[in-house]
């Protein structure tokens, strides 16, 4: 891939234990192109979040990234950034939405204050300018600017999740990481949010690393998908191939364990 936004090379991550270490991510390499929506799928515990945290440089001990691993954002190795560079990197280069993000808003601040916090810290924007920018960002995620004066508890879960996404987009990051962003939400709300992300990434040109356990959803929205199994990336393909002609036995096994909404039902014989 020429000029990928994200390039992960030979990524190895251990969780350091008292007696033994756990090799959670094993020699993983993949690229994400500008504007691309890349999905990372696999069963619980296969290492998806561990990768997401490492890419956003939010990993903490006992997670330890092995020497020789590379995570390049726009060609620059984020693993070598010092504290000052890291502050610039976060939000501006890579922003991350967590599964429980809708509960991560500060309960005593209004929505406007939460935007102002990020915008002031990173751009020194005045309150008036931040207010204008926040209204613009809320509109992007289909929320009326009159919500700016609301507190998080006055917003529904779906609305809070969209607000977090809007805050993540505040500094025009090149890469948005979404780790199970809608798992706690109802399907209709989930669909509204992801549909919006899909439109925005085309409109604004950012790339997305999307993590979910729902392979059907992932096929619908992603351009390409990586399938993980016990810390290894076992298949990377465009989403049509992942669905119609999966190459790895494990990908086929995943599909064989997922009941179908339409057409021929799975036989149920190959429970992994």
């Amino acid at each position: 891939m020429t000029n990928p936004v994200l390039s992960v090379r030979n990524l190895n991550i251990d969780y350091i234990g008292a007696e033994t270490d756990f090799h959670a991510v094993k020699n993983v390499s993949f690229d994400i192109a500008p504007g691309e929506l890349f999905g990372l799928a696999g069963r619980s515990g296969c290492g998806k979040s561990t990768i997401a945290f490492a890419v956003s440089r939010l990993h903490r001990p006992p997670a330890l990234i092995r020497k020789g691993s590379q995570i390049l954002v726009d060609g620059r190795d984020v693993l070598t950034l010092d504290d000052a560079e890291l502050r610039k990197f976060r939000w501006r280069e890579v922003a991350m939405v967590f599964q429980s993000a809708m509960n991560s808003l500060n309960p005593v601040l209004t929505i406007e204050d939460q935007f102002h916090d990020v915008l002031r810290t990173h751009t020194g924007m005045s309150r008036a300018a931040a207010r204008e920018r926040a209204a613009e960002l809320l509109k992007l995620v289909d929320i009326s600017p009159d919500r700016l004066s609301a507190y998080p508890h006055q917003c529904s879960g779906g609305m809070r999740q969209r607000i977090v996404i809007a805050i993540c987009l505040a500094l025009n990051p090149k890469l948005l990481i979404m780790d199970e962003p809608t798992t706690a939400l109802d399907v209709v709300v989930q669909r509204e949010i992801l549909q919006r992300i899909d439109v925005l990434r085309r409109q604004l040109g950012f790339s997305v690393l999307f993590i979910t356990h729902d392979l059907s959803l992932m096929v619908q929205v992603s351009d390409r998908i990586g399938i993980m199994l016990e810390g290894e990336l076992v298949e990377v393909n465009d989403s049509r191939t992942i669905y119609r002609a999966p190459q790895h036995a494990y990908t086929r096994k995943l599909w064989a364990s997922m009941p179908r909404l339409h057409g021929v039902q799975i036989t149920g014989e190959v429970a992994p």
Binding site: R43, D186, V187, Q195, Q220, M258, L261, A271
Partner: protein, 300 residues
């Protein structure tokens, strides 16, 4: 296929929460019937009233209107003997297999206890054999698991124990409220297969409650779609999924993850979410038949 007579039915049941001046209908005029050897799926979003329906069946809530029928007889008039029969005939499997098991007791205890309570005639040795049989039925190794505690089991194993416990009293009806929603995909199918086996081999009547319509299609012959306490559409699974008629069902189905449809092929309904939600929440007393086993309550 001709259906056997229903074993359990809800007849125009309503359940209202909140104050009289601002009532919240968690169930509004809900009617459905469970038949031996068949699974009925209840699907709907959070807060639509699914668990309320389960609680009404488990008699944790009493209806504010309407009645429950057990083998055709109103439960409200039942004597204590009939109520006892009802209690052992109708069992529930919960969403969270961990919180429904007691951490202080072994797996053997969890399965032995219902046998002691409901099948008093069994000897100690007979009960032990029955526990082994139950574990085998849910595809767990008795020798390996009998002495273990709930925290020593995986999520999938724990949900198998809940199912075995429900089976211990030889029920005729099982109400499963989101039994797989906390489980990883890799173990979900095993539980769904188990539900199917129970239906086929033991002739149980199943109510399968879920927000996951694809799994509903895997286990159930019939489906009903709940919204704001009302069943807005119901009938044969393939008929409803293949030709959804109620705007809310269409909205729900257009939002369900479906690998056969890219996001760009979104249905019209997704542009009218607010309108559909608002109108679907209004009382819809009329019932319209779409096909032999396919009904909707048209929006007013």
């Amino acid at each position: 296929m001709t259906k056997a007579a229903p074993i359990l039915a809800l007849d125009k049941v309503s359940k209202i929460f909140g104050r009289a001046d601002n009532p919240l209908y968690a169930a509004r005029d809900v009617s459905f019937a469970l038949h031996p050897g068949r699974t009925l799926a209840m699907v709907g979003e959070s807060g639509s009233g699914k668990t309320t329906a389960a609680r009404l069946i488990m008699r944790e809530y009493t209806p504010d209107a309407g009645q429950l029928l057990f083998r055709g007889a109103p439960l409200g008039k039942a004597d204590s003997k009939a109520l006892k029969a009802y209690r052992s005939s109708v069992q529930m499997v919960f969403q969270d297999p961990f919180s429904s098991l007691n951490p202080a007791h072994t797996i053997h205890y969890h399965l032995d206890r219902p046998l002691r309570l409901h099948q008093r005639k069994l000897s100690h040795a007979q009960r032990h054999a029955a526990v082994e049989e139950l574990l085998t039925r849910v595809k767990l190794d008795p020798a390996q698991l009998m002495g273990k505690f709930p925290h020593e089991l995986s999520g999938g194993q724990r949900q198998r124990i809940s199912i075995a416990r429900a089976l211990a009293v030889n029920p005729q009806v099982i109400v499963a409220d989101e039994p797989t929603s906390m489980l990883d995909v890799s173990v979900r199918l095993g539980i769904l297969n188990l539900l199917n086996d129970m239906k086929r081999q033991l002739g149980l009547a199943l109510l399968y409650i879920t927000h996951d319509i694809a799994t509903a299609r895997y286990v159930a012959e019939d489906i009903m779609v709940m919204y704001a306490g009302q069943i807005v559409e119901w009938g044969d699974m393939e008929a409803v999924l293949g030709d959804p008629q109620h705007p809310y069902t269409r909205l729900l189905l257009s939002a369900v993850p479906d690998p056969d449809r890219r996001f760009s092929e979104a249905g019209e309904e997704l542009n009218q979410i607010e309108t559909i939600r608002r109108q679907s929440a209004l009382p819809q007393p009329e019932i319209r038949q779409i096909a032999e086993n396919h009904f909707i309550r048209p929006m007013p």
